[in-house]
């Protein structure tokens, strides 16, 4: 008799343990949605009103200040009407979480979206196209940058609207430029002259670099300045193993190895407050509008200016456009409501501006960009000029792998002087093409 009792206890113990483990799962998801308590009081007061609003979830991976700004937008939207209630949920590892959610239910209704991902994900049918909504509500495509919309499209379908637009431009240290009597460069030649004049070496120690050559990933924009493009017109093969690619590498070689305006690894490990540009250890650097607030915050003594990227030998202009958007996952149960929110935020001048000004981002909605806040500011203006010619990354699901694993390792070898330009381009092409092929959709 007693034996059976123990058997039963053991079985129940096992069962309860198993139950526990599944319970903690749901508790965890609950806990992760909790921090948005700021939105809760609003719902508590609104609830008794006639009809309960439809609640939709909005996922993003921006925490801290970014989270506050998103919550503010959700609150503003919730106050503007009483049919839909948006709740921001911070997902630190959003994409991974989204993948499991997309295949097992529990998908969010709106998602903050790094646009370059579209070509990889849209082909998996996890995003909901918004073309019908656009037509129904008469949203004009001309209100957005073509390139930004293109980056949110796959096939003939559009999957979201741009939230921000950005592109890299040249930041320069005004004080250092004035000391040497230099003007911000407009061409590669002027860039080289300025960089050479501003570099300081003490023996074999680099004290100040004239131009940051930290990021080989910017090859794409240099190539555009040389008049080239990363991929062939049919988006199947790489297209940098040619004269234009060689021009870029030759120029890099000149800057790094002959003029010695930079040292490989110079900026590694320097964080926000000790950033080489903030502390004047780098006189010029290519970066995007996202650094404006950092440079203003940390660089009390830093007087900087921004100009569009200098042009290449044959006058080519080039920069890479990027940015974020909002998308509606295919698994959303309230797509119409999600669209209302997206439209309210991204196709309305006031709302687009509200977030853009608070978060210090260039809005994707063009009419909002016409606001004096952006148009007349000497720091924002160069970015807007740059956006006129900036191009998005080529739309191929394997593009980033090709760039990161195929091309950049070869560029690393090149800037360290371990591989010549011709070999670099040739190997970059061979390995890049292979990766493009292996990572093409449908494979």
């Amino acid at each position: 008799m007693r034996k059976w009792m123990t058997v039963i206890t053991a079985v129940t113990l096992t069962a309860s343990l198993a139950a526990c483990s599944s319970k903690t799962d749901t508790e965890q998801t609950k806990a992760s949605t909790k921090p948005e308590a700021t939105t809760a009081p609003a719902s508590a007061t609104a609830a008794p009103a006639a009809k309960a609003p439809v609640e939709i979830t909005f996922w993003g991976d921006w925490g801290g200040e970014g989270e506050k700004q998103f919550v503010m937008m959700a609150d503003a939207f919730n106050k503007s009407q009483d049919k839909i209630k948006v709740k921001y949920v911070l997902q630190e590892d959003m994409i991974t979480k989204f993948l499991t959610a997309a295949s097992s239910g529990g998908s969010p209704d709106v998602m903050f979206w790094d646009r370059w991902r579209t070509s990889l994900y849209a082909s998996k049918n996890v995003l909901h196209p918004i073309d019908d909504y656009m037509k129904r509500d008469n949203i004009k495509r001309t209100d957005y940058y073509d390139e930004a919309l293109k980056e949110l499209s796959a096939g003939d379908k559009l999957y979201g609207l741009p939230l921000t637009v950005d592109a890299r431009a040249l930041f320069y240290n005004k004080k250092l430029f004035a000391e040497k009597g230099l003007q911000p460069p407009k061409t590669w030649e002027e860039l080289e002259t300025a960089a050479k004049a501003l570099t300081i070496w003490e023996g074999d120690k680099l004290v100040r670099s004239g131009m940051s050559m930290n990021d080989n990933g910017l090859f794409n924009m240099w190539l555009q300045q040389a008049g080239g493009s990363m991929m062939s017109g049919d988006m199947k093969k790489t297209n940098f193993n040619n004269e234009q690619g060689k021009q870029v590498l030759d120029f890099w070689d000149k800057l790094i190895n002959k003029d010695k305006v930079y040292k490989v690894g110079f900026e590694k490990g320097l964080g926000e407050g000790t950033d080489a540009f903030v502390t004047g250890k780098v006189a010029m650097t290519y970066t995007g509008p996202w650094m404006l607030s950092t440079y203003k915050k940390y660089g009390k003594d830093l007087d900087f200016g921004v100009v569009p990227p200098p042009t290449g030998p044959s006058g080519g202009k080039g920069s890479v456009m990027g940015g974020f958007g909002l998308v509606i996952p295919a698994g959303s149960k309230h797509k119409d409501e999600a669209w209302e929110f997206e439209k309210w935020w991204l196709a309305n001048k006031d709302n687009a501006l509200l977030w853009a000004k608070t978060s210090m981002n260039l809005p994707g909605f063009k009419p909002a960009l016409q606001d004096p806040f952006f148009k007349d500011d000497p720091n924002w203006k160069p970015f807007m000029d740059t956006l006129e010619f900036a191009k998005i990354r080529p739309q191929h699901p394997g593009y980033s792998v090709m760039e990161v694993d195929g091309l950049m390792p070869n560029l690393d070898l090149f800037v360290q002087g371990k591989q010549d330009a011709a070999t670099t381009l040739k190997k970059g092409q061979e390995q890049g093409d292979k990766l493009l092929d292996q990572n093409a959709a449908g494979k």
């Binding site: 343990l17 993948l99 998996k124 074999d204 110079f266 250890k281 390792p409």
Partner: protein, 295 residues
């Protein structure tokens, strides 16, 4: 007699009962996922939309993937440096801190401290320390007239830096294991060795080292597994660069699975890696079983 066998039968039954919950969880969270992953490695699973059986295509692609081979070469290079150094350093630390001297506890604590920091946090600090112009390491080197390299951005140094940082972080834990092992060597053995006229090196070589064999076996096996699964430090310190020289297999698995949505292929790589770990662990076991000592 009958009562004894009854008792043992009762005991074994209770034993099984008690391990049931653990086994149950182990099956659900370990065995079943492993079997599923094995199946998925023969599919083109992309997490969301596709899951077709494609035979050994993933494994064929693996054989033909230069990046996969590069990552294997990288972790093997890392292991060859890391594992022996790890054993030598942690054992010497243990032998050194075994003696009862004033302040030895402080040294033990200091040796163990790095183990307590998270891999990512430690790596973040080391990036800064290893900066070529402003980092502490090169600053100190320049005091003795050496121009240090760009540790994390230049080819042979990047992997050496990772070896160094991971060693810094892991020798403390192994030191503790060796200290425990050293405590198991009976004092009277040392005394009789001394009487026989053995010097310190001889008593270490012919007594301590053989007695520590199981400990060394444990430490080396864990180091092999850890080394082949290197991820955090390589991810934070160098992002696999420069020129893929510090890209590790686990990093590549992560990138292909979650970045490129090629989970089937990532699974195939994971199985290839676990096979390699198995081979090296067996090899290590073989080496440690030999009656003749290794050194």
């Amino acid at each position: 007699m009958a009562s004894v066998s009854k008792l043992s039968r009762h005991q074994s039954r209770m034993g099984y009962l008690f391990i049931t919950p653990t086994i149950f969880l182990f099956v659900i969270f370990t065995i079943i996922p492993v079997i599923m992953a094995l199946y998925l490695s023969f599919t083109n699973y992309d997490i969301v939309s596709k899951n077709d059986f494609i035979g050994i295509d993933n494994y064929k692609r693996l054989a033909d993937d230069p990046i996969f081979w590069t990552t294997l070469k990288n972790v093997l290079f890392y292991s060859v440096l890391y594992i022996p150094l790890n054993i030598i350093i942690s054992l010497s630390m243990a032998v050194l801190f075994m003696r009862k001297r004033i302040g030895v506890k402080l040294f033990r604590t200091a040796g163990y401290l790095p183990t307590l920091t998270s891999g990512v946090a430690a790596a973040t600090v080391w990036i800064w320390l290893l900066n070529p112009e402003y980092g502490l390491v090169n600053e100190l080197l320049s005091k003795i007239g050496i121009t240090g390299p760009s540790w994390l951005a230049e080819m042979p140094y990047a992997m050496l830096s990772i070896v160094f940082v991971t060693l810094w972080q892991s020798v403390g834990a192994n030191m503790i294991i060796y200290l425990a092992g050293l405590n198991g060597v009976p004092d009277h053995l040392y005394e009789s060795a001394k009487l026989d006229g053995a010097n310190a090196w001889q008593s270490f070589r012919y007594m301590t080292w053989p007695v520590l064999r199981p400990t060394t076996f444990f430490v080396s096996t864990m180091s092999i597994i850890g080394a082949l699964q290197l991820f955090d430090q390589a991810f934070v310190l160098t992002k696999g660069g420069p020129a893929n020289s510090t890209k590790t297999t686990v990093y590549y698995i992560y990138q292909q699975g979650f970045g490129q949505l090629q989970m089937g292929y990532a699974d195939a790589m994971a199985f290839a890696l676990s096979l390699i770990i198995l081979v090296f662990s067996l090899l290590n076991m073989k080496l440690n079983k030999e009656d003749e000592s290794i050194i």
